[in-house]
Symmetry: C2
Subunit: 567 residues, 2 copies
């Protein structure tokens, strides 16, 4: 069962829905010509299809293990990583001064999408490095940049993010790790960190940990937290990895999926660290990185969904069963067709949102316009949560398409579901994303939301002649969403927003998906029009029940007491 990168779909969405033309039209991204985009997508597609996809199952069967303090990675992962690094795929959007390609985040997003479909557990490694590269570009000193960025961008070294501690998960402000000044400009970092993705490996020369810790004068909560670079091997004067730092992998987790990715408990015992950004400014630095990492994780979700979709399509086209007409395969059965169409339509919607998000980030970088910045910030939680929920739902439906075979591990369908499950949890659970959306991202009084809704309503108006019914459905859905957004903005008690935050986020994604599908129908491609009809007539109506849930507020929910659950 082989993966084929959906280069055409991605290119179509970039050009026709996400508005990549505007990005390519900026001075900063003038190099992102059509030819360059083609070359990037085509080359990355080859690597994903030929090198990464064959590593998907071996990583599941032969998890990374900790042996005598050393992490041994899954068979073939070292070679797979080398292909990613040598292709330049880690630093597509990184600073050219340090070896990056300086190309738009939209292209990074497209390539991450493909890599996620091909081998999610390995792709998580460069995704972490990309986040670290961005954090260093924005917050590190020139010295640190000069030392670390070339190595991270080339892939010789890789990066991790160390936030979580046993008592500090979603509430990162509760962390206890300490940083004591050594008097020479460095710090001694101590503490335990958990859930460290790719906490170690046996194929990069060094592993660079970005660690959140509290200085002696750091206040309690998030405002007293600082960020430190804590390398596994301390670079010598020439930048070569030298002395072993005082840190170690204590254990690796046994996880539901993503077995190829070693998830470590890390122990720092006075390890030498370098401050990144300002003292007590760790959270701000982390947020820079986190916003784009959230886009990256949303893309993991939709990438895994694409993999599961292709896997299910191949099975449904091949499998004969029952009195199916046409090709005689189960794809002719209405219910199988319904499942595959749902999967395909939702992957399309999630990818559209991710690329819209990436374009907004690129436009922010290129123009520094507040409008784009607000757009990017607003779309990020939607992209993360809907992308990963779609990953879970599509992978789950993919199992169902396989019937009994779906439950058998050899088939590979179940692995997509097990692997992708964590994406709805890490990098901020999807509940946290939704709370971010209805609180922080509506703090502008809904300005960013209403601007986006107005824009897509206008593009909907323009389609009314060609597709009156479809356009009317999308237009009305946008209107319903606007009304509920107005209601949300007027709720002063945040609990009233939080109670319906998850349904609201999903409704917003549903409506954006309606917009994307409608625009796809307008493009004149008959297949895209058929899928758009399916989505708009059958899946979009869900937004109404989600908005009804949202507008219930919190009173009835919070009236349910903890004791009510004790029965």
């Amino acid at each position: 069962m082989s993966y084929r990168a959906p280069v055409q779909d991605i290119r179509f969405l970039m050009d026709n829905i996400a508005g990549f033309g505007a990005v390519a039209g900026t001075e900063l991204f003038a190099d992102a010509t059509g030819d360059t985009v083609d070359a990037i997508l085509t080359e990355a597609a080859k690597m994903c299809e030929n090198v990464l996809a064959p590593l998907q199952r071996p990583g599941d069967l032969h998890p990374a293990v900790l042996e005598n303090g050393v992490v041994r990675t899954s068979p073939g992962y070292a070679e797979g990583y080398k292909a990613i690094a040598e292709g330049g795929w880690i630093g597509i959007s990184a600073d050219p001064d340090f070896g990056g390609m300086g190309l738009p985040m939209t292209l990074t997003t497209a390539v991450n999408d493909m890599m996620s479909s091909a081998c999610l557990s390995l792709q998580l490694n460069p995704l972490m490095s990309q986040g670290q590269i961005e954090a260093l570009e924005h917050h590190a000193s020139d010295e640190i940049k000069a030392l670390y960025l070339p190595k991270l961008i080339s892939g010789e070294w890789c990066g991790t993010m160390n936030l979580t501690e046993p008592q500090a998960g979603s509430d990162v402000g509760a962390l206890r790790s300490k940083a004591e000044p050594n008097g020479d400009g460095t710090y001694a970092i101590s503490g335990q960190k958990i859930y460290i993705s790719w906490g170690d490996n046996d194929f990069t020369e060094n592993v660079c940990h970005l660690v959140l810790a509290r200085l002696p004068d750091g206040v309690a909560g998030t405002k007293g937290i600082s960020l430190f670079m804590v390398p596994k091997l301390i670079p010598d004067a020439d930048g070569n990895p030298g002395k072993r730092n005082d840190l170690k992998v204590v254990s690796l987790e046994h996880k539901m999926g993503l077995h190829g990715s070693p998830t470590a408990v890390m122990e720092y015992s006075g390890a030498t660290g370098w401050l990144i950004g300002a003292e007590h400014g760790g959270i701000a630095a982390m947020f820079t990185m986190m916003n784009n990492a959230r886009l990256g994780v949303g893309v993991q979700g939709l990438g895994a969904a694409e993999g599961a979709l292709q896997h299910a399509i191949a099975y449904a086209q091949d499998r004969k069963q029952g009195k199916a007409g046409g090709t005689g395969s189960i794809i002719e059965h209405a219910d199988v067709r319904r499942m595959l169409a749902t999967m395909k339509a939702d992957v399309f919607a999630a990818r559209a949102i991710a690329l819209m998000n990436a374009v907004a980030i690129d436009m922010t970088t290129a123009t520094n316009e507040p409008k784009w910045k607000a757009r990017a910030a607003f779309l990020t939680p939607i992209c993360k949560a809907f992308g990963t929920d779609t990953g879970i739902d599509v992978a789950n439906m993919g199992i169902q398409v396989h019937g009994g075979m779906g439950f058998i591990e050899e088939t590979g369908a179940a692995q997509y579901a097990r692997d992708v499950r964590v994406t709805a949890i890490y990098e901020g659970t999807n509940g946290i994303q939704a709370m971010d959306l209805v609180a922080r991202k509506l703090m502008d009084g809904g300005e960013a939301a209403f601007a986006l809704l107005e824009e897509i309503q206008e593009t909907t108006d323009a389609t009314k002649k060609k597709f009156p019914n479809l356009a009317e459905s999308v237009w009305q859905a946008i209107e319903n969403l606007r009304e509920t957004t107005e209601w949300l903005v007027s709720q002063d008690d945040l609990t009233d927003r939080f109670a319906g935050a998850v349904p609201y986020l999903r409704a917003f994604a549903r409506v954006l998906g309606g917009h994307a599908h409608l625009q796809a129908a307008v493009s004149g491609d008959a297949a895209r029009e058929r899928l758009a009809r399916f989505y708009i007539n059958r899946l979009l109506p869900e937004h109404a029940s989600l908005l009804a849930h949202t507008r219930e507020g919190s009173a009835d929910l919070m009236a349910i007491t903890p004791d009510d659950f004790a029965a």
Copy 2:
């Protein structure tokens, strides 16, 4: 993390929603007094909590294995099985003439619910036996009954169902296994069967396989299939297991979950079999068994959901994170409360439907009234599909409540999701259930459906004074469902029914859940009223978008070509 059997919830639903009083009022089930019911539920609860629940994780960690042709089961399973057998829990509803208790299926359902929460993979074994006992009671000769039923009911022997072959899954009529008359009244059975749950074990004296095969003069398709009893060890004249039959376990599957349950590929090489029922009447005999097995599998789904719910509640009550008010635990966060309330409300709805289904079966058995028979047949696919979908959804949400811990296997949350996944597939996929509902179960012109809707609408009317808003919502939802049911019945092209079958089934379950919650609110229990408000105001609205999907028919869906998926 310990399981506590929800005896009160089950009893409440039996008495107040499912109408168990009518069953206990029949002559046949006069023994099912309140005291008897209490005793059964209390004793079974103890066994589930103390004996079965501790086997849940060992079964996952130490799957059943095939060694030199012998299946070795998971640690503790032999003792667990013994407790089930000795408690009499296999034969609660079996014929007292052969050692059963002769009690209503409603009680079997309640006990299966608890056993499924405690240890799904082991519970699957007696569930298979229960189906076999029922098939033999209805279709076997007196000799076979006398020989097999006492052993199956006591649990000394256990039973399996052998339908599926590699080319014959949902399309059972495509099977190729053969039965040749031996001339002495027995048959030589040959063929390969796959996905045989509990195909062998090391704790029962014998394993009795019910095998579908084709006689030499059997026509192609389902009408040429016969059913045979093919024991692992052929009983001697005294009924003791004797000579090894010509059958073997070829291999066990590596599955996503349910590791404690050995799923076998079985090879029959001229094994001796005895005809059950009429020649070429195998499908009819299988259907008797399958209808109740489908109820049983729906109950597995909701039982697993109950287990996952309790697991998540315990975590949420214990875990401190962020600025939570009240108890300081994450259960105080609105989004966590929303997840737990959704889980609890849906388990309640699924359990209500299962018990309504069981009551209809019992009333059929006791009264032989066509009305009850039609009710039971109608509810069965809804119970199976909604129960198992709820199992998957609730277990998935249970992982999310655990945050990062949910993805770590030691926590146990992931196992519920992995184990329960197959329940939406086996015993007829949920797609097959939905097609059964909209085709066969509406073949009466909707009579059974409309009778049920009328009944619940009347009970809704009676609540309008006390809860005008809730009652109005439920009443309107029933009305919407009736309209779509009328539309479905009027579709002559079955494809137009099949295209929306899955959303329709779910909408029906949503509405039945609304009915159950409304009745629970009326009972005067404040906690139940709070949960009912949550369900009716926030979850019930989903029915509208599902019905919209249903009424789209098939044209637009089937217009999507197989080639459209090739991109």
